[in-house]
Amino acid sequence: GAGVSQSPRYKVAKRGQDVALRCDPISGHVSLFWYQQALGQGPEFLTYFQNEAQLDKSGLPSDRFFAERPEGSVSTLKIQRTQQEDSAVYLCASSLANEQFFGPGTRLTVL
């Protein structure tokens, strides 16, 4: 496919579990972003990669959140010891220039 893909689409976790969310950006896109979207709200910036370098992680809400993009393509957002307040849709976007192309998101529900 030509678009950004994310997996899984839905994830249910028990409080305290670790989760890993995957993003496959559009091939060749240098920039990759992660956003968190709470129900009824707009997406909020989490972190930004340029190739494999994480240039901005100022939006990560706590040290339980960790993101990586080791080969400059696929990215993984990991959340350790999940809490109920982590329940949200996690969106990934990639871009070559100004326009960001979003994936469908992963809906995380923490029970």
């Binding site: 950004v4 972003f33 956003y35 009824g40 709200q41 707009g42 997406p43 909020e44 910036f45 930004y48 240039l55 901005d56 100022s58 939006g59 969106l91 976007a93 100004n98 326009e99 960001q100 192309f101 979003f102 994936g103 469908p104 998101g105």
Partner: protein, 115 residues
Amino acid sequence: GESVGLHLPTLSVQEGDNSIINCAYSNSASDYFIWYKQESGKGPQFIIDIRSNMDKRQGQRVTVLLNKTVKHLSLQIAATQPGDSAVYFCAENMERSTGRRALTFGSGTRLQVQP
């Protein structure tokens, strides 16, 4: 702090009418704005963008107006169709404290098109 927000949470229009969705921003240094459409279960989809050196930009059935004096922008959709039903966000591509740019979104307006 600086923020991008919206006036109306829900807008209901009749099919065929024109729709206007409004957005206010507070950072006078903002120079690049984007409108996104988000359908249920999908990620935001780019509609149209505008830079601060422009007052108006037109696309296919959509027009964005930017009023820098009152820090307001609007999205106009002509001849609204049922497929236009979605949540619309204005976003500001702004420089963060890290020196990197990222999107700052408002809370969204839900557009409901009545047949």
